[in-house]
Symmetry: C2
Subunit: 474 residues, 2 copies
């Protein structure tokens, strides 16, 4: 009866058909990833314009929708799922997590309040605890899974504002290197700080914040009546993967009584590796840390996290009572996520992390991340051997930045040359790289973070870089 | 080769196995929903405690994980997916959206910047546009999909703060009825407003904000040097589904130069129905509106939205430039979601809404919502016929609130009686209801919003209410 009268309630065979047809398309898509161009957005504006439509009153056959998605819309994109994507911060897309979302969505339980699904909420709490173990946090630490690093950084900032500043907080000042991710400036804006509140501190030659410059700026701000309260250390900048001296920042933060937040959205999961732990020494002394499982754990987009060493600080910043909420449990053994985060109802994000970790164990992630570090070193060596190529940022994690140099060219000429260089590399479509500006210089980055990128693709990309270099310099 | 060396890269047959086994469990689960208890959390604390574990180094067989999820963890919960869930605001869990997430996760393209996946970003922009059509907004309106109503309300508030207050905004005051969702107070807290900034205005007998009290409070605040700037109208309160006089609020907001935000997280999609449109007349004059597709469109948890009539206001509140972002497209035809929202990388939420709407057309949603309104009226009539039951809040949308009255009982005695009444209803486990406090009175609510709730289950619930009433009064 149900399936006849209520079209949204699918009969079992309809559900099976939906999933089976989607899965067939997905399997084809994944199998074709190595052959797909690393980036293809030719004619995308016309395509997008042709898709504009008003709210449809009637339905369209499922097959037509799958065709539109898989044959037309998905391929016309930066191929963030493919092995050749070495641009920005590469995405992942573990199928395990896709299946976890299928389960979480279809069973649709609610984990934001512990009482509503205690066992599922515990699985998510386990995930948060694992992240705390990775950072080296004590058991009192608390954290939440977010949609990504931007909300994670915002939560950290709002928590620090509550802990370290009076209600009239507008004279509070924030410190970060000039390489910090722009979500920190955005968090400051959204949290209500005036426009000039984030002090961008200059970096050393390795793109790490300069402690002397930081100390000097804090002193100047205190002298002029501002309230320094928040310093961000980058555990892997987006531009070059630079890791600030986190132990040094922790010392400085202790002396200056600042909240130390470490943005490890890109780099944090390299803590699973020996080399990453060395680079990020001191991270466990931070007051809060952002880690993005949708980056360093290869998950699909949509899972970031923030951890706070003093878990009660998260609660103080986020608790508001309401009559219609179920009574929060008394025991401190359990966590009501809505009490320590800005969200009430939201997706059950924990399962997306839990399922792949439980299926494989963390060792498999560690090995994959070690491979990314190795690939970056391999790329760096190969780049150094190319005539005219100069490494601008040696890899600290899995990013290397480089450019072509040619005597006699001024900065504008050099930048134009390197933009052409990048275009030529990308025109081959086996890898997709992006550039950034470092001290006015346009440089090209290789960022290795896809679980699908291996030595074969890296070598193809390096061959393309070599040919492109001789084309533009020859 | 890949599947051997790199365990995270599954071979096609492994992927198929993952999905097939999960689907088999899901189909069983969905088929069993009518037989599942509406709520079962007996022994949940022990279960949760038994699940605590440290980061696993090695993996666990998939079958064991599915068994833990489907046999143990998922059933021990409020059954937010089932037909008997009439508590809080019921969840949905359309399988269409689960499949959409499977596709979005597995193909993992990035829609936060238009250039990165123009056609997919356009599908999400279509969804936002459809929501604007539902509200009656002009084409210049812009909006974003969020994880839920809390972030949506926060975005609206931050946007209004930017538009209506100076950088030193701490004297800004917000207005809402004393029935407003607590995410509004939370948004004020997170946006940096001092604790007493939200004025809770008393309601009339139908739990709607009293315009006279609102006007008086605004005048008093202005007289004392505060800056009134933001008023929230509820389009369906969580307690009783009350809809404020939105046209009246729009008039008042115009006169007082306030930003009018309408929180339609629960009730907004009833705009698809004739009765809903009548109740929410004037909503199109609001400066911003929150709608939660994971409520009124029956989606799985994780999809809210906020719409802003002047789309450029969203951009002004959220734009921060960064060198490493791809150039934002010039044309105003397209939208970079990261420029008008707090998030940069995040899940591709649009597909979750797009797929079910495209498959069925919106007419099917309209019919389902009309059914919920009908079921609520049916419940109200049946409740009125029960001896000793008094309706405390007549349905304005799909919530009715009631309690038992008994002469001679003081308030405490009456509340104790009604708590027993609620426990007896829920003990039958065919429906799960929750209570709330209205002017100190404990009342019981029926909220009809699951796409799986139909007349058969409602009648069973009403029978349980009747028996429970005679038990506790008899």
């Amino acid at each position: 009866m149900a399936e006849e009268s209520w079209p949204l309630e699918l009969a079992p065979e309809q559900m099976r058909r939906l999933v089976d047809q989607a899965l067939a398309r997905i399997l084809d898509h994944v199998a074709s990833l190595p052959r797909q161009p690393a980036c293809d957005v030719d004619g995308a504006a016309e395509l997008a314009r042709s898709l504009v439509e008003r709210l449809p009153e009637r339905g369209t056959p499922y097959e037509d929708l799958l065709r539109l998605l898989f044959d037309t819309a998905i391929p016309k994109s930066f191929n963030t799922a493919g092995p050749g994507y070495l641009a920005y911060i590469p995405g992942g897309g573990l199928l395990h997590s896709a299946v976890a979302d299928l389960i979480a969505d279809a069973t649709n339980r609610y984990v934001g309040v512990w009482a509503a699904a205690p066992a599922l909420a515990q699985l998510e709490a386990n995930v948060v605890r694992w992240l705390g173990e990775i950072v080296g946090y004590p058991p009192e630490a608390r954290g939440v899974l977010t949609s990504g690093g931007s909300i994670a950084n915002l939560i950290a900032l709002v928590t620090a504002r509550r802990e370290r500043l009076p209600p009239d907080f507008l004279s509070g000042t924030l410190y970060a290197s000039d390489q910090v991710h722009h979500s920190v400036q955005k968090a400051a804006l959204l949290a209500g700080f005036p426009e000039d509140s984030v002090r961008e501190i200059p970096c050393d030659a390795a793109f790490r914040i300069r402690p002397d410059a930081l100390r000097a700026r804090i002193a100047r701000d205190r002298a002029s009546g501002r309230r320094p309260f928040f310093v961000v250390g980058s555990a892997g900048t987006t531009n070059t993967g630079a890791v600030d001296d986190l132990a040094g920042l922790a010392d400085l933060a202790a002396v200056e009584r600042l909240w130390l937040h470490v943005d490890g959205a890109y780099g944090g999961f390299f803590l699973l590796t020996e080399r990453g732990r060395r680079a990020m020494r001191g991270i466990e002394r931070a007051d809060s840390v952002t880690l993005d499982p949708h980056k360093g754990m290869f998950l699909p987009y949509g899972t970031g996290s923030v951890l706070v060493r003093d878990g009660e600080a998260l609660r103080r910043a986020h608790s508001v009572a309401a009559h219609y909420l179920p009574p929060m449990q008394e025991s401190r053994d359990f966590v009501d996520f809505n009490e320590i985060s800005p969200e009430l109802s939201r997706d059950f994000r924990g399962l997306r992390v839990w399922l792949p970790v439980k299926m494989h164990g963390i060792s498999v992630f560690r090995e994959a991340l070690d491979e990314k570090l190795d690939l970056t070193l391999r790329a760096t060596e190969a780049l150094q051997a190319i005539d005219g190529v100069e490494i601008v940022a040696e890899p600290q994690l899995s990013i290397v930045a480089f450019h072509l140099v040619r005597p006699g060219l001024d900065l504008a000429g050099l930048n134009a040359l390197n933009r052409r260089f990048l275009d030529r590399i990308n025109a081959r479509r086996r890898v997709y790289l992006t550039g950034t500006l470092l001290d006015g210089r346009f440089v090209i980055r290789i960022c290795v973070l896809s679980f699908r990128t291996h030595a074969d693709r890296m070598d193809e990309g390096l061959a393309d870089i070599r040919s492109a270099a001789s084309e533009v310099t020859g």
